[in-house]
């Protein structure tokens, strides 16, 4: 079991209210991703749940038990750190066994569990090595192994992939998702990378300046962002946010249209733009355009569209996919 409830959770560092007040419900077995820019308080929130920071106010309950003042180890959670935080003087085997040794488990039982975890994570051949003799991906797997053996009620991941190169990040992303499917244990995952959030989460919590901007499934956030911040943060490339006459005509302060919801043509369209930069990714091409009467916009074209720097391109927005925001930045419901 691993349901976690935060009620009016607050964290101040001196005068700075890093987390003004957060309420959140995490269901057993959910994969929840905290996403937000740096300084949004996502790591602080995770550390509060872990017990590595003391709350300024509010309560945290895990499986109905109040753990607000409980020590980190007493919460039954396991954490994977950004820097892996392996014990450099211990072998992989001893690293993975450490939490079990601390729990005073019998050696035979420890050995069995370590072997099982190593097997799941493809670490069997590396058990006698030190962390310094492992690659980044292997180190990350050891850190995950150390978390698995404790059979925690929930896993906490603090930007675990940000020290890995792009290719490895993709692989590890799949491995962690796969692990979640196998273990079906609650996972809370902190990242600043919205791609990680979109690809892995059952539920995304978008944080900004210590406040929750929106909670929802990846597609909910993509389709119906609650405000300008979420609209701009979720989706890649970013949504085009237009102010001025066009927005006013649609009855909004700001109008948002995603790059993939613009139809491109070389002959005619609603707007006329000039390509400043064309990013060719193969299947897709991202066009950065200078659009007459509007300014900078981004559009997604198919790889075959064939536009280059300086070309003139016509754009037509799919107005059924238009997002409208009021003067407070909140989405206007249709």
């Amino acid at each position: 079991m691993g349901s976690i409830t935060l009620k009016n959770v607050q964290k101040h560092f001196g005068e700075a209210k890093v987390i003004p007040s957060v309420d959140l419900e995490i269901k057993d077995g959910e994969f929840v991703v905290f996403v937000g820019p740096s300084g949004s308080g996502k790591s602080t929130l995770l550390r509060l749940i872990a017990g590595l920071e003391d709350l300024t106010g509010g309560t945290i309950t895990i499986d109905g038990k109040d753990v607000t003042d409980a020590a980190p180890a007493a919460r039954g959670l396991a954490m994977v750190f950004q820097s892996y935080a392996l014990y450099p003087h211990m072998t992989v085997r001893k690293n993975i066994a450490f939490p079990l040794k601390m729990a005073k488990m019998e050696q035979a039982a420890i050995d069995k569990k370590v072997e099982a975890a190593a097997n799941v994570l493809n670490l069997t051949d590396y058990l006698e090595r030190r962390p310094s003799q492992l690659s980044g991906g292997q180190r990350q797997r050891v850190a995950i192994g150390r978390a698995i053996v404790r059979e925690p009620s929930a896993f906490l991941f603090d930007e675990p992939l940000s020290n890995l190169d792009a290719a490895l990040r993709g692989t590890m992303r799949l491995e962690i998702s796969d692990l979640h499917n196998q273990l079906k244990t609650t996972m809370i995952y902190v990242t600043h990378d919205q791609i990680e959030a979109m690809t892995m989460a059952d539920k995304i919590v978008v944080l900004n300046r210590g406040n929750i901007e929106q909670v929802g499934s990846p597609m909910e956030l993509y389709l119906t962002p609650r405000n300008l911040f979420v609209a701009g943060f979720i989706g890649s490339p970013r949504m085009n946010l237009l102010t001025g006459d066009y927005a006013k005509a649609k009855g909004a302060t700001t109008a948002g249209i995603r790059p993939e919801h613009l139809t491109l043509s070389k002959e005619s369209g609603t707007w006329k733009g000039r390509v400043t930069v064309a990013e060719h990714l193969g299947a897709d091409t991202f066009l950065h355009l200078d659009v007459e009467g509007i300014g900078q916009m981004t559009a997604r074209a198919s790889g075959e569209f064939g536009a280059h720097h300086g070309d003139t391109v016509y754009l037509t927005p799919d107005e059924t996919r238009l997002h409208r925001f009021d003067d407070k930045g909140l989405a206007i419901k249709a």
Binding site: M79, A85, Y87, F98, R146
Partner: protein, 274 residues
């Protein structure tokens, strides 16, 4: 672009380095040379060539037993170092990983005690020692040496501990380690190079400490420093014997230093380059 260093410059610098090294080492060397002279040769004037007699060593050993002060030196330096580490490891942990607003002030205050001349507190310390019957006792002197070197030990350990990523200790906490287990199983093994060089340096400092060891002991707890001093006695100057005693006193620590020099240098420059 790499700087080109000519062979001539290399030789020049090597010679300069050797000259400086020799200059620093010369007093020790001259003590060794003098110890191999007769008393007449020793006061006769500057000479680098001794007659090569070992008589002084034999006289020193027969007149006063070398073994007892040697054992005292070992007990005092090792004992005070271990005691200092037991106190300093948790203190340095607290200052490195759970600092408060006043931590820097405490560190500075501790260091400031080392800036005070020892003689300034001689009288109060002497009275305290007399009151508690600690004069000329190993226990008393071990405590004294622990206390005077503690600021340096705490400072050194604090510097080493600061290099250890806090996340690793947090991981240990998540893994269910109590504070004590965190220090024993995670922090201490990771800080071994730093702790080892602190230990070695402190043994050397305690071994060579002369002011308090001479002031607070007479015979029973007197270490080698007091042993040397006893040869500059009212009965006259015995330079050759004094030198023989000095040589015997510094030899063990010199040998220890020689074998641990790699560790010492590594420890003292720890963290200088990441």
């Amino acid at each position: 672009m790499a700087r080109s260093v000519t062979t001539g410059a290399k030789i020049g610098w090597s010679i300069a380095a050797w000259v400086v090294a020799l200059l620093i080492f010369f007093p020790i060397l001259y003590a060794v040379i003098t110890s191999l002279k007769t008393e007449q040769e020793a006061i006769a004037g500057f000479s680098l060539i001794p007659s090569g007699t070992f008589e002084n060593y034999i006289t020193v050993q027969t007149q006063r037993d070398y073994f007892k002060p040697f054992m005292n030196s070992v007990i005092l330096s090792v004992g005070s170092t271990i005691l200092a580490l037991i106190i300093a490891i948790p203190s340095a942990w607290a200052m490195a990983f759970a600092p408060t607003k006043r931590t820097k002030d405490i560190l500075m205050w501790m260091l400031s005690t080392k800036m005070m001349p020892s003689v300034a507190v001689l009288l109060p310390i002497f009275i305290i020692f007399r009151t508690f019957g600690l004069l000329d006792s190993r226990v008393g002197l071990t405590i004294m040496l622990t206390l005077i070197n503690l600021p340096i030990v705490v400072w050194m350990l604090y510097t080493y501990f600061r290099e250890i990523p806090g996340e690793i200790l947090e991981a240990a906490r998540m893994d269910g380690a109590s504070l004590w287990k965190e220090i024993v199983y995670v922090l201490t093994p990771m800080a071994i190079p730093g702790i080892a060089s602190t230990l070695l340096l402190n043994i050397i400092l305690a071994w060579n400490e002369a002011f308090w060891t001479i002031q607070l002991t007479t015979t029973n707890a007197a270490p080698l420093t007091a042993f040397i001093a006893s040869f500059s006695s009212p009965q006259g100057l015995f330079w050759a014997k004094l030198s023989a005693a000095s040589t015997m006193a510094i030899a063990p620590i010199l040998i220890l230093g020689w074998f641990s020099q790699k560790q010492l240098v590594r420890g003292l420059t720890f963290g200088a380059v990441k």
